[in-house]
Amino acid sequence: MFSPHKLLLRLIVVGAGVLLLAHHYQRALLTPLLPLIQSTLTHVQDDFTIQSLDIVENGPNEVLRLHANLARPTYISGRMFYPIGWQSAAEGGYEIRLTVGGTIQYSLLILIVVLAWPAGHWRVALTRLLFALPLMLLNTAITFPAELWNPIHEEWLSDITWPLLVASKMLMGGGGLILGLLCGAGIIAATSRDAAVALSVAAPATVES
């Protein structure tokens, strides 16, 4: 096992570096991904039309602003929901705002864990990054479909349990970070050149008296 002091030092250095970079360049990093997220959302949630997705200033914060509307009248649990402005000339919809920091925090945790854990060889580090990137994107993108339904659920259907929203609340309430940590640990274990190093926590099996 690596010394905890060394590991803590690496976590502090890598964590500070990643968080500083993310704080300063989060907009530049996310902006090119917005069309990808928007087209993914359109395919995954065809109940909604995505009118726009951008990053805007909101006081001192940067937020992801999503304009969406129901694509068609939708029948849910005995109630009919019409798009805002349905059969009228008015345009409109929902505006959902998510803080950029809150949206990318799970992804950054995966990145910190994967980079901070000693790799031994640059190829291992690169492989870990290649595994981490799709998971980071998935973690970021998974929040949006739930956020589209969340306003409707909270205002009119709060008596019904939706698995998607339960999962989303779990992720946003701290579960996402734990999942991020587990994803990072899983990547390290799967890509370690010497499985005994990554899984050395299993070694204290001999501790059992």
């Binding site: 096992m1 010394s3 905890p4 590991l7 803590l8 976590l11 964590g15 968080l19 993310a22 704080h23 909101n58 001192p60 914060n61 937020v63 304009h67 805002i84 402005g85 008015a90 345009e91 409109g92 919809g93 929902y94 505006e95 959902i96 705002r97 998510l98 803080t99 920091g101 809150g102 990318i104 925090q105 950054l108 945790l109 910190i112 864990v113 956020e147 969340n150 306003p151 946003m172 309430g173 701290g174 579960g175 970070l177 734990i178 991020g180 940590l181 926590v201 299993a202 070694a203 204290p204 099996a205 001999t206 501790v207 059992e208 008296s209």
Partner: protein
């Protein structure tokens, strides 16, 4: 006219404010799960868990104090600290504590 434009948008915000009153419950859950499956003696497991709960509590209090003073000193610091830095730091510190406990236990066993 501006009012008419604003009325066309049903604005919903999720700025993470529902997370303000976090008590570290999920971190304690993480720690409990980790100690439940860790290959340790029962004594070491129990001691590690009890100490860990105290560590999580201390880390959480430090986080709240940091956020309070950051907000008082500079409003713009609050959001990055609240939404990005402190949640990640808390999880990493809890994980580091668990790792350190495993490491120390193993070393203790090897030395005896």
């Amino acid at each position: 006219m501006t009012g008419a434009i604003e009325l066309r948008w049903h604005i919903l915000r999720n700025d993470g404010s529902q997370q303000c009153l976090r008590t570290g419950r999920k971190r304690r859950g993480l720690l409990c799960a980790a100690f439940a499956v860790a290959p340790l003696t029962w004594r070491s497991r129990l001691l590690g868990l009890l100490a860990g709960i105290a560590v999580v509590f201390a880390i959480n209090q430090a986080r709240i104090l940091l956020l309070f003073y950051a907000y008082r000193a500079d409003h713009t610091l609050f959001d990055p600290l609240h939404a990005l830095v402190t949640p990640i730091a808390v999880v990493l510190l809890v994980a580091a504590y668990f790792y350190a406990w495993l490491f120390l236990t193993q070393r203790h066993v090897q030395s005896t």
